[in-house]
Symmetry: C2
Subunit: 419 residues, 2 copies
């Protein structure tokens, strides 16, 4: 058992109230949240927070972790040559070993930035799963394509692989998937009563071409195939029609917004304030390191808010508190991790500690606003996943030395560039 | 003498090349940049960089440091009530002691974020100067208003106050200054052959009202009064006409862009790509903590680039390398700190060390892009101003304990809120 005491708690159990409650964990779960007790059980470790803030970890609800190899490889170039001349030819050289190495690197960045789970769409999913389990990191996989047998096989396999790993039905996107394959995933989602996710309306071109092909937007097409019968959502959702918004509302789907990637690739600004007004569910993701290039949920929260102010020319648009909830609780519920959405007894112990004794967090007037508008990765001093401390004060506890992980990633990238 | 060795050097002496040169400092200056020598002089300290990156510090070319008290005090509210109902009434309660305490707090944030100098416009300039000198931090003051005698007095006083302090002629803005006061500052700038700076075209309303009053944009008005005869520039520059751009080009003036503040207050996006194409000089600032809310030049660099991609719907718009130079060298030259603009013998030793052994900086393919697109405050591990190490690995060497600085700021803010 581990005891967190003498700090502040933003449990997200019912809102953004901050208390001085203690939190105890037992194994991978939270077992007590409340005031200090007179009699204490035997703890394996007692962590004196000294005024620091304990809160649920960030959930990176859309990423391609294995793309950490493309960081700073092709920036400030137009989208099409970026994708077709730089990224795709390199991705063709990926192997399970390489995806493992690059995912290991990304997990370090998640942990030191307070991210406790990722919804990861990439190739070589067995390698992703192994990299996450070896690190102690929680991962929801997606991205399965292929024959109905293959996707069924992956679904079953990764949902019984490890308590840290799960998989949700998905396709990459309408424009990269045959209608036959889309229908196969639709059947999978229905058969397992599972939510369905995909890239959706990231660019205007994508939507226009889908309408030209099918007479329907991507959202309309997926809905017409019954893919959202058990929920799900879309990555990006920048170019939604009013009807798309209605479908998302009716089905209770999740908009998973990636504002940094959408800005850097000049895809546009997802109209989150409009979605909030329509009552849509919102979560945030970083997208891959090739298009972002950081894996930094503080940056995503900041951008989510301020880009709405710009888009609406209204400094009051998009409240920071709502976005903070979206980045933690919302993300968890979006990606099937409802047991990681807040700090409450019985929930998974996916927790982070934020140091408020740093100048960017002072004065302490409104901690949620501090987190969104002046918070940064440096404020994260501890990250716990499933009850295990994986990061603390600059040190990683992930079963391998960071230096080794950097070297492996660097060596594999250089090999790919030279092949 | 201090020796930095065994690292990488981004000197900005002629571009963005990275070498393995050593750097030696002597007193407040850099005395040697070059390859390792066989015979070494006696050093007071030798810093083994172990592969880390040494580079010029960031110059925060527009800020109101003393506004650190308003952080998270009034976010997500419309601009007018924000300013008139929240900020102005509190500012009326400022005293020199309070500005000293709040500036001390801001300086900590600058140092841990790799900022080595700030161009600071705020009230109670003697208190700002004292706070910076006591911290060892470099500051260029501005914001003088009042009678010709008063502004002359401040100009002379702060330009002979301390080697870390200087002052440049300025007014707050056209819309807050009488024509008489504007003319008095114009005379000061001419008399001392000094550059002139002011808020300029931050909001569309500001420009429209100036045109209605004078038949001229702010830039045209200032130029007609001869205020830019010896250079200078504008803070924000969001809403420039083609003629404003021509004037800035002809006079060699500096656009000091504050993308985070302009976004959060819904002022707009300064068209930096257009300014770059027109050959204008560009520097970056954070603006005050009330409108940003961080004092984070990494965020400014990131936003400067990606907002241009959004504004132009072109992922190739605004190269990160140019923005990195703007944030360091450009900022120095903009604010009269030409001797702090790069790492070269005879220049001031205003240096920072960036840790590349952190996951967000890996792989090491293109360090300038890493700095802008995935870099963050956590990567700054040492900040030196005028040859003195003021920040290193989480510790501050500023003549006061951070805990005391936090307490003082917090106490003064609470007193203001209760008065």
């Amino acid at each position: 058992m581990i005891r967190f005491f003498n700090g502040r708690l933003l449990s997200m159990d019912g809102g953004l109230d901050i208390t001085e409650d203690e939190v105890w964990t037992d194994g991978d779960k939270i077992c007590y949240v409340g005031p200090q007790k007179d009699e204490l059980p035997a703890f394996g470790r007692q962590i004196d927070l000294k005024g620091k803030l304990l809160m649920p970890g960030f959930k990176n609800a859309h990423t391609h972790s294995g793309m950490s190899f493309c960081r700073s490889l092709a920036d400030d170039v137009p989208l099409q040559p970026w994708l077709f001349e730089q990224i795709f030819p390199l991705e063709a050289k990926l192997t399970p070993e390489r995806v493992y190495a690059f995912t290991r690197l990304a997990v370090l960045e998640y942990l030191s930035g307070g991210v406790t789970a990722a919804f990861d769409m990439y190739y070589h999913r067995a390698a992703i799963a192994a990299a996450c389990v070896d690190s102690g990191f929680r991962c929801v996989l997606c991205g399965t394509n292929g024959t109905p047998e293959a996707i069924e096989d992956e679904f079953v396999r990764f949902n019984s692989y490890d308590k840290l790993i799960s998989l949700l039905p998905s396709i990459h996107a309408e424009y990269t998937t045959s209608l036959e394959d889309i229908k196969a995933v639709a059947e999978l989602a229905k058969r397992h009563k599972a939510p369905f996710f995909t890239h959706n309306a990231e660019t205007k071109k994508e939507v226009d071409e889908c309408v030209a092909r099918h007479g329907l937007t991507p959202t309309e097409l997926f809905d017409s195939l019954g893919m959202f019968e058990y929920g799900g959502g879309g990555f990006h959702c920048v170019w939604f029609s009013e009807h798309d918004i209605e479908i998302f509302k009716k089905r209770g789907l999740w908009v998973i917004s990636c504002p940094a990637s959408n800005a850097k690739l000049a895809s546009g600004i997802a109209p989150l304030a409009r979605y909030q007004a329509a009552g849509l569910n919102i979560a945030l993701g970083t997208d891959g390191p090739s298009s972002n290039n950081g894996l930094d949920m503080f940056r995503e929260m900041y951008l989510a808010c301020v880009l709405q102010k710009l888009q609406n020319m209204d400094a009051a648009a998009c409240d920071a508190g709502d976005i903070l909830l979206a980045a933690c609780s919302g993300g968890a519920r979006a990606i099937g991790l409802g047991d990681c959405d807040r700090v409450a007894p019985g929930k998974q112990a996916d927790l982070i500690v934020i140091d408020l004794d740093q100048p960017n967090m002072r004065p302490i007037i409104n901690i949620p606003k501090n987190l969104v508008y002046s918070g940064s990765r440096e404020n994260v001093v501890l990250t716990m996943v499933a009850g295990r401390v994986l990061y603390e004060n600059g040190e990683y506890f992930v079963g391998a030395e960071p230096g080794k992980i950097y070297e492996d990633a660097e060596r594999e990238l250089k090999a790919m560039l030279n092949e």
